[in-house]
Structures are given as structure tokens and as C-alpha cells.
């Protein structure tokens, strides 16, 4: 008797997710207890250790992974690629939601406003809506081949937005600061801060992997059930 592959993927996803959530708690404690308070911004600056890694994983991993899987799906028509793209896009929505909520909470004490129509903020909000549209589209198309094809186009469009979001702080002068780590020159952060930020990158990458694995496993289980029902 062979084990159900969907079940083993789900189990792996649960383990990774639980480990990553513990890691997120550890990073928050590191930021609170073992990272210095920034002199000008005060404690609010420590939102950075959640906001920046979350944004980096959303924009540099989740959305591009969706886009690349979508391109490959249009080429190879492998349902695994469509399943992965959908899982990654759903996790990207969650990460974007965290970016779009922690950002304004940080902005209020530092900029004096919750929101401004700055290029970086506006394009990130646009990406969030595009990802919501991606899922609305998937929910409204019943044929799996059409669903995969249509949503792949949106997935690629989401990926095409990423360079504009990254460059927006250079192209349009706004309130959002320029990168302090993801830039051509060396990171402009003291080691005590950089250490917590790097731990944050590791933990949020693990959280993305855990969520995607779990979401992929759930979709695999559902697809197999539908196939069995149809047979």
C-alpha cells in the first residue's frame, strides 16, 4: 500500500508552517529585546523587521514564482505548475496584506499619515488588487484548462509589476524610503540591526515555503478527489 502523496505534502507543509511561525515569534522577540532602538524613529522603527522581509518575500519570491510557474504552465500545460502558481499567488495575497497593514501603522508616527499616494504604496496596492482578481478569476472559471490559461496571464502581469514597484522609489520622489539592504552598494545598517533583519528574511522565506507546500497539498488532495468523483 502506498501513502497518499497529497497527505504527505500536507504534513510537510504543516511542519514547515509551524516551525516558521515559531521563527516569526523569535524574530519579534529579537527585534524587541536584542536590537537597538533607532534614535530618530523610536520603537516604531522595529516594524521594519516584519514589514521589510514580508515585502521582500512577497515581491521577490511569491509573485515572481507565480509568474515563472505561469509562463511554464502556458508552455508545458503541466497541472502541477498551475497548482503551484495558484498556491504561491494565494500566499502572495497574505504577504501583501501584511505589507499593506504594517506599512501604514509604521507610516502614521513617522510620516504623520496612514496613507499617501506615493508610487511604491500605490503600485503595491495595485498588485494586491491584481492578486485578488487572480483568485476571483480562478473561482469563476470551471474548466481547469481555461482556468489555468486565464489565470497564468494575470500571474505574469503581476510579475511584470515587480520591477516597477522596486524602482518606484527612484523614479518618483515620494515618502517611502529607498532600500537599505536590497541595493547595489553594501547594506547601510549596523550589524545588530542587520542580524535581526537577516533572521527575518530566513524565517519569512520558510513561512512562504510552509504555506505554499500546505496550500499545494490541499489543492492536490482536492484535484484527486474531483478526478475520483468524475471517474
Amino acid at each position: 500500500m502506498t501513502a497518499d502523496p497529497a497527505l504527505s505534502v500536507i504534513r510537510r507543509g504543516i511542519i514547515l508552517t509551524v516551525l516558521a511561525l515559531i521563527g516569526v515569534a523569535v524574530v519579534m522577540v529579537m527585534a524587541l529585546q536584542f536590537t537597538p532602538v533607532e534614535a530618530n524613529q523610536g520603537l516604531a522603527q522595529k516594524i521594519f523587521y516584519v514589514h521589510v522581509p514580508t515585502a521582500a518575500v512577497a515581491l521577490w519570491i511569491a509573485v515572481p514564482a507565480t509568474g515563472i510557474a505561469s509562463i511554464l504552465y502556458l508552455w508545458l500545460h503541466d497541472p502541477r505548475l498551475d497548482r503551484f502558481a495558484a498556491a504561491s499567488a494565494e500566499v502572495a495575497v497574505v504577504f501583501c496584506l501584511v505589507v499593506l497593514t504594517t506599512g501604514p501603522i509604521w507610516g502614521k508616527p513617522i510620516w504623520g499619515t496612514w496613507w499617501t499616494w506615493d508610487g511604491r504604496l500605490t503600485l503595491t496596492l495595485f498588485l494586491f488588487f491584481l492578486l485578488l482578481g487572480y483568485h476571483a478569476l480562478r473561482g469563476s472559471v470551471r474548466d481547469p484548462l481555461e482556468r489555468g490559461r486565464f489565470s497564468a496571464v494575470l500571474g505574469i502581469m503581476g510579475m511584470a509589476l515587480v520591477p516597477f514597484i522596486h524602482l518606484s522609489v527612484y523614479l518618483w520622489r515620494g515618502l517611502h524610503p529607498q532600500p537599505v539592504v536590497l541595493k547595489p552598494s553594501a547594506p547601510s545598517l549596523p550589524w545588530e540591526m542587520l542580524r535581526t533583519l537577516l533572521a527575518g528574511f530566513g524565517v519569512f522565506i520558510l513561512l512562504y515555503v510552509g504555506f505554499v507546500t500546505l496550500r499545494y497539498g490541499l489543492q492536490l488532495a482536492q484535484d484527486r478527489k474531483e478526478e475520483a468523483d468524475a471517474a
Partner: protein, 33 residues
Amino acid sequence: MPPDNGQYLFAAYIVAGVIYLGYAVRLMLRARR
């Protein structure tokens, strides 16, 4: 002297925690079904 704005930090961490934890619980409940 840094400004006193710790309430924003805690609000942001709670919001992020609730979103991540909420999504994880949602997926795990789906896995149980």
C-alpha cells in the same frame, strides 16, 4: 531621546501575527476536513 511610539510597534506586530496565524489556522482546518 527617541520618540515614544511603542504602541504602533505592538499594533503592527499584533496585526501581522493575527494575519499569519489566521491564515495558517485556516489552511490547517481545511487539511483536517
